[in-house]
């Protein structure tokens, strides 16, 4: 990894590039927040940030420290509450949702509830929070993960948040809204998508200095490979400048 940018900065830039202009994105604290703010300054000035506890359309000038803090509705267009936001998502208004987790499987299902048996937990994790709701009702979800074999595994200890569940048609069969599901997985090794037919995870592009084999080796399930695997451009000078001077001037994510 180059010293021009930190691992976090790379993730922020990669996540930022995924989001289209003129769409809405469900933002949690941390990397998604910086990614959305960077996207607003780069290619997506009309990206609408939506925060779970009620903020819509904030001008992202200061980094929120908590998912419902004042900065999530600073100069925003609408400050309501969690049901209004979750129902707006259930109604189909939210395009992107960011997710994280301790484990992910080939269908993009996520675990943020427990390591081990739920009835005798080895590690009790924070739980679904809004994760399951984002994974259920946003049109396209983007998971941001550290990439290793402990996290990218064949069978989750617990499915907290739905990806494609057991494969093609499983979301619809379960009652989840039509044509929704995982879209991208952004990791320290590359960017992954999902095969249209099998709904299994597929490597789309690798990060600078990373080879496709590295990604395969660090994945605990059989990973599909795109016909042509691209290379993600490193963060540009412009991205880094905006990120450091405007989005994260206190350098919280420069490490």
């Amino acid at each position: 990894m180059s010293e021009r940018y930190s691992p976090s900065e790379l993730l922020i830039c990669l996540s930022s590039r995924v989001m289209e202009d003129g769409t809405t994105a469900f933002i949690g604290t941390g990397i998604p927040m910086l990614a959305a703010s960077l996207a607003q300054s780069m290619h997506a000035p009309n990206l609408v940030a939506v925060f779970e506890f009620g903020g819509t359309g904030a001008i992202l000038e200061k980094l929120p420290l908590a998912v419902g803090d004042m900065r999530t509705y600073n100069k925003s267009l609408h400050a309501s509450g969690i049901t209004d936001i979750m129902e707006t998502s259930q109604r189909g208004f939210i395009e992107y949702g960011f997710l994280g987790g301790a484990q992910i499987d080939a269908y993009g299902n996520l675990n943020s509830t427990v390591i081990g048996d739920i009835l005798k937990p080895k590690v009790r994790l924070p739980g679904s929070g809004g994760g399951n709701d984002v994974g259920s009702c946003c049109w396209r979800t983007i998971a941001i993960m550290r990439h290793d074999k402990r996290r990218f595994i064949e069978k989750l200890d617990f499915i907290t948040t739905p990806g494609f569940l057991t494969g093609p048609g499983a979301r619809e069969e379960a009652g989840l809204p039509r044509n929704t599901g995982p879209y991208r997985v952004v990791t320290n090794l590359g960017v992954l998508g999902f095969d249209e037919e099998t709904r299994r995870m597929k490597l789309l592009s690798v990060n600078p200095g990373v080879k496709a084999d590295d990604v395969v080796e660090n994945t605990g399930f059989e990973l599909l490979l795109a016909d042509e695997i691209g290379e993600n451009p490193a963060p540009t000078d412009e991205e880094l400048k905006i990120l450091r001077e405007k989005v994260d001037p206190d350098g919280l994510y420069r490490k």
């Binding site: 420290l65 908590a66 004042m70 994790l125 499915i159 009652g175």
Partner: protein, 332 residues
């Protein structure tokens, strides 16, 4: 009515029983008896906890992360010694305080964590050790819809969330085929709290409440409580309430106790009043990592203090002033 013989399948049932049974007609009768008169409900945190909380109650806190936290009430609750609570597991510091003291028996769990600061060590210890006897899973939307169902006076709300996951398996939700569309639908059961705690920006002495900025789930939860205890940064005249009744989010008849508690959300933030005390919060995050550290924190910042005023004095006017905003949630 003419009867047609039809039915819809229950295609799935979450395996956790309801921690709090549904009794809508009982809730109606309770609500009927609550006073509708404009009486003065001001009291101290201790009085409110004494009068409106019992061992074994199902309780809940309305807040989001470290924002608008009813912490003066939580500290009084801890000091009261009351225990064996069943709780709705949304919130962070409130629940960590109770969990660290072994006061929680069952949790309807959504998210208990420290957001950017990671997992809660207190929660890990309490749940992994089996000290909490029963943990039921929900999503954030689902727990709020549970309050909303209670607030609407109905036994459940349909939802298109939680479906197909272990989250619903470990919940008390059910899945049916919709009698109108035939599609599968989660049914999220109503949740009525025995006692709820909410911190607001302003209230009058009767309990009419105003909240600045986002309202989280205050509207839903306030309407889903048998007893509702409000703390407020400021107590204002009822005339002020009457000047802008569209700013009242929680009407007085829902409220049983009103506590004047400036800086109650400290070390968390309060919209348009003060920001989070990052220095103290980071210290807290470190201390909660070990049982000893957490015990020390609880002793120093909760158990050894007689009341909220003592906490305010301990934190100190200068520190609090440095956190105070000039007004309005509108950064310039």
């Amino acid at each position: 009515m003419a009867q047609k013989k039809k039915s819809v399948p229950i295609v799935y049932e979450g395996e956790s029983p309801l921690i709090q049974p549904i009794d809508l007609d009982g809730f109606r009768e309770w609500n009927r008896k609550k006073t509708k008169k404009l009486v003065d409900k001001r009291m101290t945190e201790d009085e409110a906890v004494d009068r409106f909380v019992n061992d074994g109650d199902y309780i809940g806190f309305e807040l989001y992360g470290t924002v608008r936290c009813p912490l003066s009430l939580t500290r009084a609750l801890v000091r009261s010694g009351k225990t064996n609570f069943r709780i709705a597991g949304q919130g962070v510091t409130e629940l960590e305080m109770l969990l660290s003291m072994g006061r929680v028996k069952e949790i309807d769990f959504t998210y208990i964590g420290l957001e950017v600061y990671g997992v809660s060590s207190v929660v890990r210890r309490a749940v992994e050790s089996g000290a909490v006897e029963n943990v039921v899973e929900w999503s954030n939307a689902a727990i709020t819809w549970r309050f909303k169902a209670a607030a609407m006076g109905i036994p459940f709300l349909p939802a298109r969330s939680m479906l197909g996951t272990d989250t619903i398996r470990r919940s008390s939700a059910k899945v049916i085929e919709c009698p109108f569309t035939g599609e599968k639908l989660a049914l999220i059961p109503a949740l009525v709290l025995d006692t709820g705690f909410i911190h607001v920006n302003r209230a009058d002495k009767h309990g009419n409440c105003q909240i600045d900025g986002i309202s989280g789930f205050a509207i839903e939860m306030s309407r889903a409580c048998r007893n509702l205890i409000i703390s407020a940064e400021e107590i204002i005249d009822t005339d002020e309430i009457r000047k802008s009744p569209d700013r009242t989010l929680i009407p007085y008849y829902l409220v049983d106790a009103v506590i004047h508690a400036p800086y109650a959300s400290w070390p968390g933030e309060m919209a348009s009043y003060y920001e989070r005390d990052e220095k103290h919060y980071k210290m807290y995050v470190e201390q909660q990592k070990t049982p000893e550290g957490m015990a020390e924190y609880m002793k120093e910042w909760v158990l050894d203090l007689p009341d909220h005023q003592a906490l305010i004095e301990k934190v100190g006017a200068e520190r609090l002033k440095s956190l105070t905003m000039k007004g309005g949630f509108y950064y310039e």
